[in-house]
């Protein structure tokens, strides 16, 4: 038994965009520029691991997940998923993976939940016994049994997402890709989904790749995170390091009176300036926000300020700006 369920090496995927310059607009042979959506990513995922796959919108996450699930063919590089090259053996790969797209349902909108399960059963050749066992198990954890007779369109988003995940696990896949499974859910529903993911991971040793924009999901579930931006890996390692480094980060947004003055502060890290608005990232254990405001107040006139928790995007920005220093 190999220990790496997923092996990705120097993965590249590029696409062409048509030049919109004035000279080429009217020419039939329009010129194309190649843009790399994924630019040399390498990583491995061990059996039973939950990998948090994060990065800002457009970083290349979805493209990578699509290559892992056999939808797209890489331009170059190596991928092995459970010993299979996904794009060469799409159907076989499909049998060993489960995929959930948070923003796109795979269920039959007008039909009762049970019908969607039955279709999964036929397509993935799930045995009667496995099907029955899984239904019972999913009912125990998620209460999906309660809405088996209800059409999918009448479920709440939280209920639907539970069914969505249950359907993706019906054929006992060894690997599951969860693409923003908690998007748009309220706190309680998120909690429920996260518990379920954790439990299934522990019970069945399912390998999971999770993409999300919610730092709390990552903290609850993942042992390791992979951060990408502009198609490149910018961090790959355990979550504790990132958490202790950035998880306690807060962002102070101050609006100062005088725009022209060059802005400088001794604490924290100015990550963005929008005219008179300054975004300062700082660690709440190192400084207190009050001290910072006082300090700024000494030199500049503050019109307004606010304090926000940092999200993944900010952390990625922070890691990225450190990398580029």
């Amino acid at each position: 038994m190999m220990s790496n369920m997923i092996e990705v090496e120097q993965l590249v995927k590029s696409y062409k965009i048509r030049n919109k310059s004035d000279e080429s607009r009217f020419s039939l042979l329009s010129k194309y520029t190649e843009k790399k959506a994924v630019d040399g990513i390498s990583f491995q995922v061990k059996k039973g691991e939950i990998l948090g796959f994060i990065g800002p919108n457009g970083a290349g996450k979805s493209t990578t997940v699509k290559m892992l699930s056999g939808i797209l063919v890489p331009a170059s590089g190596k991928i092995l998923v459970n010993g299979i090259v996904p794009y060469k053996n799409r159907k076989k790969n499909g049998q060993s993976i489960g995929v959930v797209f948070g923003q796109r349902s795979q269920l039959w909108w007008n039909l009762p939940v049970m019908d969607s399960f039955e279709i999964v059963k036929a397509i993935y050749k799930v045995s009667d016994k496995n099907f029955k066992d899984n239904l019972e198990r999913f009912h125990d954890i998620l209460n999906v049994g309660e809405y088996l007779d209800i059409p999918v369109r009448k479920l709440s988003l939280g209920q639907r997402m539970r069914v969505e995940i249950a359907a993706s696990l019906m054929h006992n896949p060894e690997i599951v890709f969860l693409d923003e499974p908690t998007i748009g859910l309220d706190m309680v529903a998120k909690e429920k989904i996260n518990e379920f993911i954790k439990l299934i991971n522990q019970e069945r040793k399912v390998t999971i790749i999770l993409t999300t924009h919610d730092m709390r999901d990552i903290e609850k579930l993942c042992d390791r995170i992979l951060v990408i931006d502009h198609g490149k890996t910018i961090y790959d390692g355990d979550i504790e390091t990132v958490k202790s480094k950035y998880g306690k980060n807060r962002m102070l947004i101050v609006d100062i009176e005088d725009e022209l003055k060059s802005f400088h502060i001794n604490y924290g890290n100015v990550i963005k300036e929008e005219g008179s608005k300054k975004y300062i990232m700082f660690n709440k254990e190192d400084f207190s926000a009050i001290d910072m405001v006082n300090e700024i107040e000494n030199e500049y006139a503050i019109k307004d300020f606010s304090l926000v928790e940092t999200d993944i995007e900010d952390i990625v920005k922070c890691i990225y700006s450190e990398q580029n220093k």
Binding site: I71, R104, D115, I119, A122, I123, Y124
Partner: protein, 266 residues
């Protein structure tokens, strides 16, 4: 076996989900039947004024009309969804199909039926039985078999063209224009193709080979003098050959398009 089973499971689910809104699909089909019958009646009034157009009796023209309606109906039921491939690529629902461990083409056909197609077939049937006496056809066993084979071929030709045009969505972002072009040329084949000028005939025989879907089988069937160069049986074999070729090309273009999408999409 597995693929056939999945096809029927998907078909059942798709039809069931359409029947959820009980009355609506029936009203939809009924409305379309009225539309096609009334369009036909307009033509019928014109036809009765002429009796004979360029060697074609109006009964024969009605025969071609029915042939066209029915084959388009069959095509619509099974393959209409291929005209929407562009939309499926844009909203990502195609990706949902690509992650399934089964043939994507079969999944696409099985999971999207267009029940509107039944209206073409029913309307065609009504016109057929109403004007049967004008066709000048004796319905013996041989003719019935010929007719059924010809209808199947015609439907497959219409379907193949639909699949090929739909698959263009894999290469261009918008294939709505092409689809409209097809819909436009499709209107020509309700009548004998020899009525049109050379350019339109070239298109209908060679570029969008819609003439093979309706005109040729109908004309051979009606023993039109133009087609007396071969026996009926030879013509039938010829049609089956052309249909087979077009079907293979259609599936090929679809698969080629899919692999292009897989290597160029993001």
């Amino acid at each position: 076996m597995y693929t056939v089973k999945c096809f029927f499971v998907l078909m059942r689910a798709d039809l069931k989900s359409r029947m959820i809104y009980k009355l609506s699909p029936f009203l939809y089909i009924f409305g379309l039947i009225l539309l096609y019958i009334s369009a036909f009646l307009g033509n019928y009034i014109m036809l009765t004024k002429f009796k004979n157009i360029d060697g074609w009796e109006y009964g024969q023209i009605i025969f071609i009309y029915v042939f066209c309606l029915v084959s388009y109906g069959v095509r619509s039921i099974f393959f209409n969804h291929f005209t929407n491939l562009g939309g499926m690529i844009l909203d990502g629902s195609l990706d949902n199909i690509l992650i399934k461990p089964m043939n994507s083409f079969v999944y696409l056909v099985g999971s999207h039926f267009e029940i509107g197609g039944f209206s073409h077939i029913i309307a065609g049937g009504i016109i057929f039985f109403k004007f049967n006496h004008l066709f000048g056809v004796t319905w013996n066993v041989k003719n019935i078999i010929f007719y059924i084979i010809a209808i199947i071929c015609a439907s497959l030709v219409q379907s193949s063209i639909t699949v090929i045009i739909g698959s263009c969505a894999f290469f261009v972002e918008q294939n709505e224009g092409l689809r409209r072009l097809y819909e436009g040329f499709r209107q020509f084949i309700y009548y004998p193709v020899t009525l049109y000028n050379k350019y339109i005939q070239v298109v209908l025989f060679c570029i969008l080979p819609l003439a093979f879907a309706t005109f040729i089988p109908a004309a051979v069937f009606l023993n039109h003098p133009v087609y007396n160069i071969m026996s009926k049986t030879s013509w039938l074999l010829f049609l089956v050959g052309i249909t087979g070729l077009l079907s293979v090309i259609a599936v090929g273009v679809f698969n080629f398009g899919l692999s292009h999408y897989k290597s160029s999409g993001t």
